[in-house]
Amino acid sequence: MTDTLTCANLSKSYGGVVAVRDVGFTIAPGEAYGLLGPNGAGKTTTISMLVGLLKPDTGTVVVGGADLSADPMAAKAKIGYVPQEIALYPDLTGRENLRFFCRLFGLPRKAVRARVEEVLDLVGLADRADAKLDTYSGGMKRRINIGAALLHRPELLILDEPTVGVDPQSRKSILDGLERLVADGMALLYTSHYMEEVERVCDRIAIVDHGSIVAEGTRHELVALVGGADRIELTLDGDVDTALAKLRGLGGVTEAVRTAAGSVRLIAEGGRYLLPSVISTVDGIAAVTAVEVVEPDLEATFLHLTGNTLRD
């Protein structure tokens, strides 16, 4: 089966600063693909190149068989883009917004009304369709933001942080809707900071850092990359630096870092079994006021691959 999206060797620099370096991946029909990365990792630049907002310095993007640089209209007609911000007109009603983008994207005049109603039903906003967008709740805005990208029945839906700032009910509704679209055969490219969303929605995940894909695979494949190590989160009261130094020398601990003033994170094989040794190691140096053992998950993998340094 032909992939819905094939991108290869995508690179983009700004005045000598590399934003994206040699990024490439494919997404098959009915597949959800996640892009994970810290702030500034190059996710938005990659997405901007995929939807034709930025011209890559090198590389190719093919959507549904159409080359984005050679035939941008055909390629873009197959893409639905959901920007991170609510990219709609606040002074217009939900229905007016959808109608505008239907016409802009060239839907036949007679089909506009029916398609708008379909999408309003799809995002659950038929009953609020005639209210102005600036009266919508955050979740409703997010839903219609996605709806506007579905109007022209794209083969590939690209979502950039689509659930930022919404309540759990709206998030669930959005994720349920996306899963239905994927089940119906739509390809999905999804970026989010919420690991559990990516784990739930995406079949394959790429972890991006410093402009490059540093790991790619299914959730299980990625988790296996860190060797199944557990994460031990400690809260200490006392001489944290000395305790940290001691813990680094403890057998079985592969990594020990300070994450906050009195907080320490350890990566260790069989963390729960190592816990008594950990506590005895710091005994007399610092008091353990809280402890948590986290088994391997995507977040641990993500932090392992991208580090703990704060990104702006």
Partner: protein, 392 residues
């Protein structure tokens, strides 16, 4: 492509009408400003200090009569100065150098030709830089033309009645058949009056065209900020569609604005702006230039607030130097030369000339050409700016 463009334009127009910027900036404020100026200052001609060159290659009674009447006119004393020049070439040089504002040229044999009933033709040289002097010169020549027509008719009638050719001149003068002798009335610009309601109406039209069209490009930058521009560009449309859609509406609303200001001046004050085709074409060229300049600003601005500020500054600087706020002839020479870089100066000068002279489209060909050149240059730079920025 066309459907997408019309869709963007329709939304822009709807937004502008809904938020009332179209009504307020395009119609109410310019009309109100022009009306206020007209009420306060209208009806009085702007103070004139014109020097008109006189080339007398005839040496007969007509040139002498003109000189005598001008010198005797109390109304023109201290306002109009005649400067004798030896020939057409010298008059043209003086005009180009700005030493005179216009020139009247009497060809050799003019008086004899009129005396023989064969009529005659007087040339007038004018400059776009000094339209009011041109108005005065044309007014003087209009008087001469009336007299020439009357004298020619009288001579021909006398000849037909059998008066010998050698006695016709004396016969006509003795019987007063040629009408009154050449006299200049106190209003040298009758029929070509330029009052301040026209002057400031034109100025406000030129100024507000920038604001009206600038609002459309400001909304383009707002769309960039709110993400709708990227959403449009990510769709299957040409990248220029959002820009062109905004430009079309800005241009159309600015045309409505200048035409409404023009119409209000005519309806409220009974002013005459001159040949409608020429006025419309000149206003069209001005709005085109304003569209291109504001588009250039939008192509380089980072935010809508920055674009707003820059357009405001450009509009007022162009209005001041271009004579939209202060009559051009009151500015020092250096500033008058700087004014030539503003579209407002060419528009105001062209409109003033049309209002005063009753001339047609050909008389404003130069201002229209300059405005189109400004528009072409600004459009070119804007296209480059958009390719590097918004569409990069």
């Amino acid at each position: 492509m066309v459907r997408s463009l019309l869709t963007v334009s329709a939304l822009e127009l709807r937004t502008r009408v809904r938020d009332r910027t179209a009504l307020i900036i395009a119609i109410i404020v310019p009309v109100a400003m022009a009306t206020l100026f007209g009420v306060a200052l209208g009806g009085d001609d702007p103070p004139l200090r014109a020097t008109v060159g006189m080339v007398d290659l005839d040496g007969g009674e007509f040139p002498a009569g003109v000189r005598r009447e001008v010198m005797a006119s109390t109304e023109l004393d201290g306002v109009l100065t005649l400067r004798d020049l030896p020939g057409r070439a010298q008059a043209q040089s003086a005009l180009d150098a700005g030493d005179i504002g216009a020139a009247i040229i009497f060809p050799p044999g003019f008086s004899d030709s009129v005396g023989a009933g064969q009529g005659g033709k007087v040339d007038v040289l004018t400059s776009a830089d000094t339209p009011l002097a041109g108005v005065v010169a044309n007014a003087v020549v209009d008087r001469i033309s009336s007299l020439v027509r009357a004298r020619t008719l009288a001579v021909r009638a006398s000849l037909d009645a059998g008066v010998p050719a050698g006695e016709v001149k004396e016969f006509v003068e003795r019987n007063g058949a040629a009408g009154p002798a050449l006299t200049l009335e106190n209003d040298p610009m009758a029929g070509g009056r330029v009052d301040l309601s026209v002057y400031y109406g034109a100025g406000m039209a030129a100024l507000f065209a920038f604001f009206v069209v600038g609002a459309s490009f400001r909304s383009l930058l707002i769309e960039r900020k709110q993400g709708t521009l990227d959403r449009m560009r990510a769709g299957p449309i040409h990248g220029w569609v959002p820009i062109a859609g905004k430009a079309v509406v800005g241009f159309a609303l600015a045309m409505v604005s200048v035409c409404v200001t023009w119409a209000s001046s005519v309806l409220i004050f009974g002013s005459t702006w001159g040949d409608p085709v020429a006025v419309f074409t000149l206003l069209l060229a001005h709005v085109l230039a304003a569209t291109a300049i504001t588009m250039l600003v939008a192509s380089r601005a980072r935010t809508d607030a920055q674009a707003d500020g820059v357009i405001m500054v450009i509009s007022f600087v162009a209005a001041f130097f271009g004579g939209s706020l202060v009559p051009l002839y009151t500015l020092p020479d250096l500033l008058q030369k700087i004014a030539l870089f503003t579209p407002n100066a060419w528009t105001t000068t062209g409109l003033t000339g049309l209002a005063g002279s009753g001339a047609g489209l050909a008389s404003v060909a130069v201002p229209i050409g300059v405005l189109c050149a400004i528009a072409a240059a600004a459009f070119g730079l804007a296209a480059t700016g958009f390719r590097k920025g918004l569409l990069g």
